[in-house]
């Protein structure tokens, strides 16, 4: 069973629908006991970092998420769920979970490409250049594109945790992996076939980086 952490951060049903389509059993819940019994945890989210962290603290899910990741449960962060895993986010000047050392930064206002100012948020389809192989990206071709919508991006403290980069005026980290944790800036549940493949890979992943 895949547990989708409900911390009132946007609409989480699209992840559940994608898993359902893949034939994976899942539950959207804020019940820590139920989540503890799940084999895998998905930590999604849409919205702002400040409110998300406030909700996590209020529900005490922050402690549990730290615990599950420390225990080795395969965990997937998506978008805002990825960002709050780091120490700090520039969005609402927010102290985050601190599970992975690093910061979340805003795209600079003067971001440009070929002499033209780029729009923020970064919204639409873009590639992820893999820095190394990972089980969750198994059988994903290089030319696959994924759906992004965000104004902030993660900057992990250690280069070795960056497994994918995307180019938007500047290269930024779009996929992170450390042991049993994979965290993505894009939305696999809204990224067509390659996104579904990533979710399917995750559901089958045992949680060790070497797999």
């Amino acid at each position: 069973m895949i547990g989708i952490v409900d911390y009132r951060a946007g609409n989480l049903t699209s992840v559940a629908r994608a898993l359902h389509y893949l034939g994976e059993e899942c539950r959207i819940t804020d019940d820590p006991e139920l989540l503890s019994r799940c084999s895998h945890i998905i930590f999604p989210g849409v919205g702002a970092a400040g409110e998300a962290m406030a909700n996590l603290r209020l529900s005490k899910l922050d402690e549990r998420i730290r615990q599950w990741i420390a225990e080795g449960k395969p965990t997937l962060g998506i978008c805002l769920g990825t960002q709050v895993i780091f120490d700090y986010s520039e969005e609402n000047d927010t102290a985050c979970l601190g599970i992975v050392p690093g910061r979340v930064k805003r795209f600079p206002a003067d971001l440009a490409e070929g002499g033209r100012r780029l729009k923020i948020p970064h919204m639409g389809w873009n590639r992820v250049a893999l820095a190394r192989e990972h089980a969750v990206f198994r059988e994903i071709p290089e030319e696959a594109e994924f759906y992004f919508v965000h104004s902030y991006y993660p900057a992990p403290a250690e280069e070795k945790w960056i497994i994918g980069r995307t180019d938007y005026g500047q290269p930024f980290c779009s996929a992170v992996a450390r042991e049993n944790l994979v965290a993505l800036q894009f939305h696999p549940e809204k990224s067509g076939r390659p996104g579904l493949k990533i979710l399917a890979n995750f559901c089958r992943w045992g949680g060790t980086d070497a797999e």
Binding site: G10, N11, T13, S14, R17, A18, H20, Y21, V46, G47, A48, E113, R116, L118, K119, I120, P121, H122, M123, G124, W125, N126, R127, P141, E143, A144, E145, Y147, V149, D167, Y168, E189, K190, S191, G192, R193, P194, G195, L196
Partner: protein
């Protein structure tokens, strides 16, 4: 580098497509869910549903359409038409739409944009704008005026001002429809699109006038649009999405590969 998005638009009335869509083998599809699924498989980057239903009870049928679409396509899609309150937005989003689009209701009640953005995030709120070219005046300095009711009612609002105001209120995207170009199949309104796109920081979807792939190429380059809405040119099988994307690629425009 971000790909330019190609977005088919489906008009729905009481749960059915207003015009049947022809697919390979000349199959006529009147079911919006089946049509959306076909476009998804053919490489649409996003899908827009426009609900032209008038009655309240038929709105529930649209919610059911949204729910069924969300179970079968895994790309973003938006729903517009008849969304007048935050509660209307909530129903559509909970049914599975990624975005909602507001048009005349936002003109009449601009806080609808800020209330929606606060409730669901800016990325969910698309401002639809219907625009008509007029002689520039003190009130309409850009020479582009906001109209509603399919262009029948002039609102005395400058389109450029409204686009910037909507961004300030929290709209995450603008779908810019030229009433003059709409239905002509002779090309998008390039001057209008580049004017608006260069004046806001949020993405702009060009709408109205698409008839041939070169029209998309023009609006995505000279028009500075981030995405292009298409209807008849794919609905009547004049072009497939793959043909359109191939032609755009040949012109050096980055579009998403279907994998």
């Amino acid at each position: 580098m971000l790909s330019k998005r190609i977005i088919p638009c489906l008009d729905v009335r009481a749960g059915m497509l207003t015009k049947g869509i022809k697919f390979k083998g000349n199959v006529d599809i009147g079911d919006p869910v089946a049509a959306a699924e076909q476009y998804y498989e053919q490489g649409a980057d996003e899908i827009v549903f426009y609900d032209i239903t008038a009655s309240a009870e038929a709105r529930d049928i649209m919610i059911d359409v949204v729910r069924r679409v969300a179970e079968r396509i895994f790309i973003p899609f938006s729903v517009g038409g008849g969304i007048r309150t935050v509660n209307d937005m909530r129903r559509v989003i909970l049914a599975g739409a990624e975005k909602v689009s507001v048009n005349s209701a936002a003109v009449e009640n601009p806080p609808l944009i800020s209330d929606g953005a606060r409730a669901f995030g800016s990325q969910c709120i698309v401002l639809g704008m219907d625009v008509k070219k007029v002689a520039p005046t003190a009130q309409i300095p850009s020479g582009y005026e906001i109209v509603i009711q399919g262009g029948r009612k002039h609102m005395g609002i400058d389109a450029l001002w409204w686009a910037q105001e909507a961004e300030r209120l929290g709209a995450g995207e603008i779908c810019l429809n030229s009433i003059d170009a709409d239905g002509t199949q002779e090309g998008y309104e390039i001057t209008l699109t580049s004017l608006i796109s260069a004046s806001v920081h949020i993405p702009v979807i060009a709408s109205g006038g698409a008839g041939r792939p070169e029209h998309l190429a023009e609006v995505l380059t000279a028009g500075q649009a981030d995405a292009a809405l298409i209807a008849s040119m794919v609905h009547y099988r004049t072009y497939t999405l793959a043909e359109i994307k191939d032609q755009l690629r040949d012109r050096g425009i980055k579009v998403r590969n279907l994998w």
